[in-house]
Symmetry: C2
Subunit: 256 residues, 2 copies
DNA sequence: CCATCTTTGTGCACGCGTTCACAAAGACAT
DNA sequence: ATGTCTTTGTGAACGCGTGCACAAAGATGG
């Protein structure tokens, strides 16, 4: 999962398992699509297929929310949309600030999936004065100096960080100090936050690396021989730690 | 986890648990930073802190790769960088195509984290003829008609989909037919792929929804009374759930 | 060469999440 | 009403992942 919780050992919130919470948005999306097609009811089997999960898992997930289905029939689409929305807190609107108006920040600012789910962009923020005032997705970019004021005035509790890695921790600290208690971090850094603040991170390059691992494995299964050397013998060699230029050429280290 | 595996029940690849694989890029990033500061060795405790994980977990993760540490000393930074890179398959270079040159696609095209880890953008592709030939991050946008040719000529095995949801499945099918076996999907849809093809998805709005859930819970703990009604009784009551605002009124629907 | 001190590598136990499989519940027809 | 048929909701078993706690390994100093 590109995704990843940072702190806290997967607490079970109000009896709803973390894993279930993470799937609710998936169900919600599938249900919304059904709703738009005016489908009145759906069985766990059908909905599970649409959401890409096992039907038993889906039923168990829903059982944590309550008994919302009708045996022999299935689930009422509209009703379930409402229940899940309420459970996720999407029936209220959440002001959000996005800090860092590079390509990614701009992309998020224009992302339709936010507004339609109760998230309202309270402000776009960047430290570059060149950008101040410029319109992105119809909203003016505000300068980083205004960060604290914006957060407090709008009662912002969710912040999105799309700055370069170097600036992320400082921005995070300022957001938290101003009252933000949930952070979505796109910068490739580990953020340190006080207790009570949730951080979720999305790292684009990590996802690709995981794919590369599996891809390599697939390729390796066909050849299955070459230098898939035993890692055990490696230990003895232990090179003198020559370190090449930045961003490294491959070390000529070669176990065994 | 923003991330999410789509298919396959968490196979254990070559003895390395999925969860460990997902953390390797994290360690690699922390190690690269140490390497740039010319730190020769690092203990599991220090590295774990830098990567934001438990030190016992880190040691266990490394133990799946082999015995690369020295007791009483720690791990050789350069050596470990190389071993992890090799394990993840980052010592070879992976041609990647990005399909869908909207804001997000453009952001990814310009993302530095790719090139520095062995991913080479083979082509940027979009269906809009208006975009064809235009330069994004120094690369010319190619038309979707060329997709199959590009994939085959460059032996591309990894594809990134940043199209609108409606186009994603078709693009996916074409990529797979042309030879792609790993897909990173940013479109908010469930992709169906044949066996042997890996899909990872990143859904920006899902992450926010998970944060909203926890945020709501935090807010609810202080008031802890109002309509946090027991879901059991709810069934009978089944409120007429008025939900204001655009984007669909709330179902006055009521099963049973 | 021996003693001490640091840090790894891992056996073990525990808890969460997943899946199976089935009884209970309700719709629907007769 | 009664029986059949569909689909939910969940008890129970299993497997993976996590974290503790410690023995083994090696470095370092005398």
């Amino acid at each position: 999962m590109a995704t990843g919780r940072t702190h806290r050992p997967a607490t079970r919130s109000r009896g709803i398992p973390e894993a279930t919470v993470a799937r609710l948005p998936l169900y919600l999306r599938a249900l919304t699509a059904l709703s738009e097609r005016s489908v009145p009811t759906v069985s766990s089997e059908e909905l599970a297929a649409a959401a890409g999960v096992n039907s038993a898992k889906l039923r168990k997930d829903f059982s944590y929310l309550g008994s919302y289905g009708t045996r022999g029939v299935g689930y009422d689409v509209e009703y379930l949309v409402y229940q899940i929305s309420r459970e996720l807190g999407l029936t209220q609107d959440w002001p959000v600030v996005i800090v860092g108006m590079g390509n990614l920040g701009a992309a998020l600012a224009g992302y339709g999936g936010f507004a339609s789910r109760g998230f309202r962009i309270a402000a776009l923020i960047d430290a570059d004065v060149q950008l101040t005032g410029r319109l992105i997705a119809g909203l003016p970019v505000r300068h980083a100096d205004e960060l604290e004021g914006i957060v407090e005035d709008n009662q912002v509790s969710i912040g999105v960080i799309t700055t370069p890695a170097g600036a992320a921790q400082e921005v995070c600290d300022r957001l938290v100090a101003a009252g933000v208690t949930s952070i979505l971090n796109f910068a490739p850094t580990v953020l340190t936050v006080p207790d009570g603040v949730d951080v979720r991170k999305v790292d684009l390059s990590i996802e690709l690396q995981i794919l590369a691992f599996h891809e390599q494995r697939k390729a390796g299964e066909e050849l299955e021989s070459s230098l898939t050397a035993p890692p055990v013998a490696a230990k003895a060699v232990r090179d003198g730690g020559r370190r090449p230029g930045p961003d490294g050429d491959v070390p000529a280290v070669m176990p065994a």
